[in-house]
Symmetry: C2
Subunit: 428 residues, 2 copies
């Protein structure tokens, strides 16, 4: 075991190369590991997290102390903090992954050719996954467990703030692997906090890293997306829109708008821009804005909206491009669903958009013409979440269109291969 | 229309940027184009290819004349050559794509959540596709048609050898788009042969190119894979293995081995290494090698094999890493299916591998433990082809594990999005 200390650049490169080689070596035994072995390891991990709670809390206390000394913000300190309840919830999360269906070996499709060849497409693990995250120590357990379930070795690189907590959590995961006879290299943790380690991961570890999942703030995701030489599953921002059509139920529009914006303002599925059908300006606009304002939301709107709702502040073009992640919403009138689609296709980050409407044609048009990962009709945008989708757990939400899109759960962490069965066929 | 002449680097960059912008602008109308419009365009393209055959042949004659002057090899000249039959076959290929099922809008999965939300995952176009190819002019029609069917704008960059032929074929495709009212920018051709244009595509055209498909020889694919900043669907080589188990029918083994190697030696699905179960050395090895030799195949083998079949030449370690694409095969004895798997996992390019066996346990092990795009049991490796798989047409075969793997047909050129239908649900 390498010491969790910072090392020189050369050493880091060599160490990361070794981590990559070991991850790749673990891929084959992991890809053929039985469902039973993987699930047994996951259950043992959950148990080890519970058993080791005192050690994990002690490690977390060190991180918290360091955080206080270095003056971390209250928000980061809260993300960093572990208590018995949070450890229990982490263990439950791992158990929930254990009881998910094993995706590996799933037959996705099967057909027979006129020459008698029987072809099937079956799920396989995807490869070595790198997860780069910030201060939340629970990502160590979530990401480790999810990658294992799909048969993928994972390399975890957590932030320096949570280094002791992550190490203690990682030790519990390794105990679970060991108890099920799975390779310990299936879940590796980068034991140094030097940023050069991230640089090596972005370069792909000599082809031994197949995909990177960044978990954290905008600057982390931006750096990973800009510099990674391997595919990235991520979203840079969730600039989500809610459109209220002239056909919408007013009560429903109020309920969904308040929930989409205000339930939690800091998550990627929170609505940032409200588009209201110009034909509903006299019926829906003011009650919806009044409800948002009453819920404590700052409203920034066009002059046209402000004429009807004078309490609103002024929206500039920059507002259409801004993910507030706060109790602020930008508001604009549009010409029906076509106007909403135009605005969204211009400004959206292609994460999640919602429509409130009773007119089926308007909904179909919204669903067909908008190219975002998630589209919702008559439901809050805050449902944009792998758990809410029934995927059991997610490692993040992707806005790219290659391979994974939307919530990245266990199935999105797989690839596939073709199996063809014949009876001596040769090609003419 | 820009002239098909070489231009300076600055001009190339600007021109390519414009091509990218126009492709992206075509993505939205194309993604919502009806199946009827796309199929009508494809049928009109096929008709235009037939109607314009004299012009295409004239353009091809110019390429052939240039080729003769610049001393192209006979193999390249054959790939370059068009005649009425080849044009007819190109038009038929486009018609075959027209009658394929439109993948866009396909519901891949649908489920309901306990809170009543109904979720479906539906296919969408993938994005702007760049195809970089060499001398085969028919790729212009195949790739253009396949990308259109999946609703993707495509940027075609053919080799300089076939520039006149490709331009004439491209004109027929544009005629088809126009007649169906689809944007002409849906299928753009890079009108210059300057290599700087390829460099611009590899950089991704300011985010306006989503994936690159290289079609051609090893050096082209190698360059694209090394330098592309966008995902690449490709295989560098098809180092395919055929394993003959002790349980194999000897007659079947002979038939499959000869077909897998000798039917066409230059295709990526041709077998390059024959692995024979050591337990079948006395029963299968010599008849199989004798049949290969009788079919004109050069055999390079280990000393152990040469002791039993003295006509074989000597194999060095380099042979296990060589895709001959010729009437040559490397041969080795292995310890059953486990030995075959070890050899294949060490040397394979993860394209296609075959097993001849009657023992179901050996087949299952081969199918489970080998991580190649295509695995075949009791069938020739030369079936590794999108047409043979029933996909109708393919733009290539991919050995990567991200997004597309194996034959890249119309479905592999799609992404997906989620549509969620509610009745006013908000998240608690």
């Amino acid at each position: 075991m390498l010491n969790p200390v910072n090392k020189g650049g050369e050493d880091i490169a060599g160490m990361m190369r070794e981590i990559g080689t070991r991850a790749r070596a673990a891929a084959r035994p992991l890809s053929t590991a039985s469902t039973e072995a993987k699930d047994q390891a996951l259950q043992a991990m959950a148990q080890a997290l519970t058993d080791r709670a005192p050690a994990i809390l002690e490690a977390n206390a060190r991180d918290m102390e360091q955080g206080r000394q270095s003056g971390l913000s209250a928000a980061i300190m809260d993300r960093l903090l572990l208590d018995e309840e949070r450890i229990r919830s982490m263990a439950e999360g791992v158990r929930a992954i254990a009881v998910l269906k094993d995706p590996v070996g799933d037959v996705l499709d099967a057909w027979e050719r006129p020459n008698g060849l029987r072809i099937e497409r079956v799920r396989t693990p995807l490869g070595v996954i790198g997860v780069i995250y910030e201060s939340r120590p629970n990502v160590t357990a979530d990401a480790g467990a999810l990658c294992l379930k799909a048969g993928n070795p994972v390399i975890l690189r957590g932030g320096s703030d949570s280094v002791h907590s992550s190490a203690a959590i990682h030790a519990a995961l390794v105990e679970g692997l060991r108890s099920a006879g799975l390779p310990e290299d299936a879940i590796q943790r980068v034991p140094v906090t030097d940023r050069a380690a991230v640089g090596e991961m972005l370069k792909g570890l000599d082809g031994n890293l197949d995909v990177i999942v960044p978990r954290g703030g905008r600057s982390l995701v931006e750096r990973v997306q800009a510099d990674a030489r391997v595919p990235v599953f991520a979203h840079l921002e969730g600039l989500c829109h809610l459109y209220i059509d002239r056909s919408a139920s007013r009560e429903m529009a109020i309920g969904i708008a308040v929930n989409a914006k205000m339930r939690r303002t800091g998550i990627c599925g929170a609505a940032e821009t409200l588009l209201v059908d110009r034909a509903a300006a006299d019926t829906h606009l003011v009650p919806v804005l009044a409800a948002l304002a009453a819920a404590g939301c700052e409203i920034r709107a066009t002059d046209e909206v402000r004429a009807l709702f004078p309490d609103a502040g002024e929206a500039s073009e920059e507002d259409w491009a801004t993910e507030y992640l706060d109790a602020v919403i930008s508001v604009k009138l549009v010409d029906g669903v076509a106007g909403a689609i135009d605005h969204i296709e211009t400004w959206s980050s292609h994460h999640t958009e919602g429509i409130v409407a009773e007119d089926a044609a308007a909904v179909e048009r919204f669903f067909n013409e908008i190219d975002s990962a998630i589209l919702l009709h008559n439901a809050s945008t805050q449902f944009a979440d792998g758990g809410e989708f029934g995927m059991g757990a997610e490692i993040g939400i992707a806005t790219g269109k290659m391979h994974a899109r939307g919530p990245v759960g266990v199935e999105q962490l797989t690839s596939f291969k073709y199996r063809v069965r014949g009876a001596g066929q040769t090609r003419p």
